[in-house]
Amino acid sequence: MSEGIAEGIGASVRRKEDRKFITGRGRYTDDINRAGQLHAFFVRSDVAHAKIKSVDIKKAAAMDGVAAVYTGRDIADDGVGGLICGWVVPNRDGSATHEPPHPILAKDKVRYVGDHVAMVVADSLATAQAAAELVNVTYEELPAVVDLASAATAAEIHDGMANNTYFDWELGDEAATADAFSKAKHVVSATLRNNRLIPNAMEPRAAVAEYDHIADSYVLHSTTQNPHLLRLVICAFVLNIPESKMQIVAPDVGGGFGSKIYLYAEEACCTWASKKLRRPIKWTADRTQAFLSDAHGRDHINNVQMALDDNNKIIGLRVDTLANLGSYLSAFAVVTPTYLHGTLLSGCYAIPAIYTNVKGMATTTAPVDAYRGAGRPEATYLLERMMNIAAAEIGMDPAEFRRINFIPKDAFPYQTAVALQYDIGDYEAPLDRALEMIDYKGFETRRAEAAKRGKYRGIGLSSYIEACGIAPSAVVGALGGRVGLYESAVVRVDPTGTVSVFTGTHSHGQGHDTTFAQIVADKLGIPLANVEIVHGDTNRIPFGMGTYGSRSLAVGGTAISKAVDKVIEKGKIIAAHMLEAADSDMEFKDGKFAVAGTDKEKSFGEIALSAYVPHNFPHDRLEPGLEETAFYDPLNFTYPSGTHIAEVEIDPATGVVTLVDWACCDDFGNLINPMIVEGQVHGGIAQGVGQALLENAHYDENGQLLTASYMDYCMPRADNFPSLQVDYTVTACTHNDLGVKGCGEAGAIASPPALINAVVDALSPLGVTDMTMPASPEKVWRAIQNAQTKAAE
């Protein structure tokens, strides 16, 4: 690393991308309009489960200003493919995941409220919406399937899919785990529910599709997190378009959190119809549509048993999970509760035997897929709740119970019982730091003080591990993944020494324009202002996999670093030629190529110019130009970890849980921009606090989503939080050049169990031992009332 660069690696540089956003000059998909564009509006099912008897479009199609009304029949007749699943797993009996068809417009059956039945295209949104009201769909209703626990015995949702079960998967050694339980001194059991969430990126999904009939090509502006993945799926599987004829542009995107990974029906329909009508077509979801049809998150029921030996060491863990995947298999619905969940069940702990069985269930609800953390928050929730439940049962301090079960820092690399090999970690360091930050020792004094004020005060810990940067691709493939999970970068040096970096990742709030530029500026010894990051346009960037799973820095950043290394290596050869020195004598430091031990040197800018004006150039060895590409396929996941601690106060009169303090210490490996990392931690915590205290997607027994607006789905607000204390410890990742691990999901993974542990701790003097998420005032108040009633009996 270069020294003395205030803008380099490790500096909290203010973000390059901010100015456009704070002045209102961001360019989001809905800000884009095209001459002659039409507007699309979708007729959605208002019943959860039904056969479509007829779709009468006559009145709608006849309305002034309506260009077309399309139904599932039109789509099917045109040979349009359905949405696909990007990862499947084998069943316990060796058979394959059941992958029912997922048409982009329903033809025979609807399977959730919000399912797409028809598409109306008109010259204004108001007209399209009014015409949609005139589309008359006749349904023969079937029973809704809403309850996850009984879904297996409910009405069949997909023809020929027995027990509404998409898959029945296992991981770990069942016999060894049973053996551990037979030898256990204590067995701790619990049923733990992970509540269903709706991601709610603030920018609703949107698309503007254009077809050029002269070039027979398309441009699709989309709110996607991964433009190339979108292009691949829409071209190869849905619309049968050559990839080279499709440009996907993801301009500024207003948050994603997983929900914008997938190709959705609407953008496929708009693209298809843009050719039919030879007019640009725009569609933007309103918030109600977002609630109904964005992929939801979480929604698991877990039966968990933990076995402890005489020394309070965990010797076995068994987890049986029902995962609600909704009406159709979304792209990464299968991997989320399996390989991103079962593999995380060892957490930070040395657990010799683990076995898990996960059944992926269909219900007549919206598809469920990856949401910030994707499987890892669900695994962490059950494990970290179990750590507290077990500690309480054996009468041990939950921090100490964690400590004695941590994988010791000298045990790395550590092979878990659930397939992962952790490269490095030190779990005690962040635990100790977080305990110190929140003054854990002083807690009982604070509890007593709160009690005097009539409040129940509680403290809760969560020590988590996450697995980021899913890789390597060969392993992903062996585990059922249908994608590679490398990342790409092109580093293009201009003749005047400025640099453009083209990355396959996509920034929708993460600050890549700044973080990635810091890496390049640092390595090349040039000003940050001389580096531009380009992302989000398939016609400009190399084929890349996009942004999710906290992968962008660990995988995409490393690809950039490797491309920069290639630039430096080429630059050394050019410089050696110009300085008449041997390649091996060349050094690159602080932006200068120098002959070691001499004062002979060439600046980065001089070498850049020479590469493009190659008058004095080693033509016998090199091609002109200074532009390098790297595709980086990691050797392993990265494993961030840490401890989060929540402190709450509960008002027994109202049941309101007030979060009064939060301290966390995370190990993300090396930090490129601590300010941006801290922002990611804050945001992740807020989403986890939302899950634990406020948010819940609720369907009634008829499959109607009762929480389909911000009036009913409680989003976290500013006054739900105290100031958050954030700190770090560092063990550098051992297998990428930057020693980085990823930070985007940590807060959302760590925080829900910390909060629920704190709520249960607060109520423990009353004898309360569990609380389901969200810990709403009503639930907490009832728990207090029930406990007091019991005590009085």
Partner: protein, 155 residues
Amino acid sequence: MPTVSMKVNGQSVSHDVADNTLLVTFLRETLGLTGTHIGCDTSQCGACVIHVNGASVKSCTMLAAQANGADVTTIEGIANGDELHPMQQAFHENHGLQCGFCTPGMIMSAIELVETNKKLSEQDIREGLEGNICRCTGYHNIVKSVQDAAQKMGG
């Protein structure tokens, strides 16, 4: 269609619009001022907050016609040329934004909050921003930004 006239960011504008045109639609579609965003359909999220005659207003909750004759300021109109408004500068300095979608509404709400209240406590700011939802930042750095701007604005 009635004619609606108002001053937007210091410039007089006059357009014929349908009766049911929302102010936010007028700003975004008719005037092309796309800095004001639409994040919900129930007046909860605050992405569309602008100033009408100096007061912060959710522009999705007002008809364009209701703003006839009004003095309207949007996110595009608060900087003084290249010199950012102290609230914009504070959001930049304190990393008070991530994806940027809620940011214009958040900044407009925060400006009015600071301009109409002296000596805001942290809790006052948190409660004052209750009508603006951010999904990225956890509000921590937004609150810091508003505190910072309040100092610079003499609040």
